[in-house]
């Protein structure tokens, strides 16, 4: 099957499921409108979800994704405690700066998820990306190192391995 068609079908089913969860399924009018809107969405934006064939097995990718979500929540709790500590501390012990990190991910979706995760985890905020060189500019509230490789180790590598399994 063509990748675009596959992507459209997945988007359609997913949109319909979300609609049914949000509305009253016993009313046939709601169901009809849901199908109409899902079709509209599918034809407008359905082909963006999957753009290339993946090498990994889908079930394996879902398992890796669930593992990623757990890891992400743990990092997020740590991030919040860290920022809370900084904010409450009377001396405000911060050392901000913008550093660069490298990424090995190639897919747009993978880089998007990586930069969003970086923003939500300890003391880091993605500012911009250099697509040619595959570098991310990160605002770091407490700069530990200015070296690009060490910063990559410190910030990006937590998620990158799991994300490679999920998206590539």
């Amino acid at each position: 099957m063509e990748t675009k068609t596959k992507s459209r079908i997945i988007v359609f089913v997913f949109a319909l499921l979300v609609w049914f969860a949000l509305t009253d399924i016993k009313n046939y009018q709601e169901v009809l409108i849901g199908i109409a809107i899902s079709l509209l969405i599918t034809f407008l934006a359905g082909h963006f979800l999957i753009t290339t064939e993946k090498s990994q097995h889908p079930v394996k990718r879902v398992i890796h994704f669930l593992f990623y979500i757990l890891k992400f929540f743990w990092e997020m709790i740590k991030a919040n405690l860290e920022v809370a500590y900084l904010v409450i501390h009377p001396m405000l012990p911060i050392k901000p700066g913008i550093v660069k990190i490298k990424t090995k991910l190639t897919k747009d979706s993978a880089i998007t998820v990586l930069s969003n995760s970086i923003t939500l985890t300890p003391g880091t905020l993605t500012i911009d990306i250099n697509e040619q060189k595959k570098e991310l500019y990160i605002h770091w509230i407490n700069v530990k190192t200015q070296d690009i490789d060490e910063a990559t180790e410190e910030i990006g590598n937590r998620f990158e391995k799991t994300l490679t399994e999920v998206f590539e």
Binding site: V18, A21, L22, T23, D24, M76, I77, A79, N80, V83, A84, L86, V87, I88, L92, I94, K95, P96, G97, I98, V99, K100, S115, N116, S117, T119, L120, G123, T124, L125, T126, I127, D128, N130, Y137, H139, I141, V143, Q146
Partner: protein
């Protein structure tokens, strides 16, 4: 019992929202403020919505709260990134205590090479 757990979750959420606001007031420049605003407020709002889910169960009301969590996780960091990038592009300086700005260095480098190319 379930109500108590829900209320505790909502209280944790409100506490983190409060810390986020405190950070917004106390931290020095726009980038640091964004850090506090995105992290604590995302987590706080998630706590409140989780409390709602626990109290309501998986009805259509609870499910709406769940979808709210997903949208907050997707939208908050994206918005923070957009604001930070726009701020840097309109040349809002970093706070005085900042130690390094690789983004600025690279931009200057780019402009210099551009000028040299024009001269040649």
């Amino acid at each position: 019992m379930i109500d108590t757990i829900g209320i505790i979750l909502i209280c944790i959420g409100i506490a983190f929202d409060f810390l986020g606001v405190l950070g917004l007031v106390r931290l020095p420049d726009v980038y640091n403020r964004l850090q506090a605003a995105t992290k604590c407020v995302t987590f706080g709002s998630m706590g409140i919505l989780l409390g709602v889910i626990v109290m309501q169960g998986f009805t259509s009301f609870g499910f709406k709260a769940l979808i709210g969590i997903v949208f907050i996780i997707l939208a908050a960091p994206t918005a923070a990134h957009a604001v930070a990038r726009a701020a840097h592009r309109s040349k809002i300086p970093l706070a005085k205590i900042s130690v390094v700005d690789k983004y600025e260095e690279d931009k200057e480098l780019k402009e210099e090479t551009l000028k040299e190319e024009v001269k040649v």
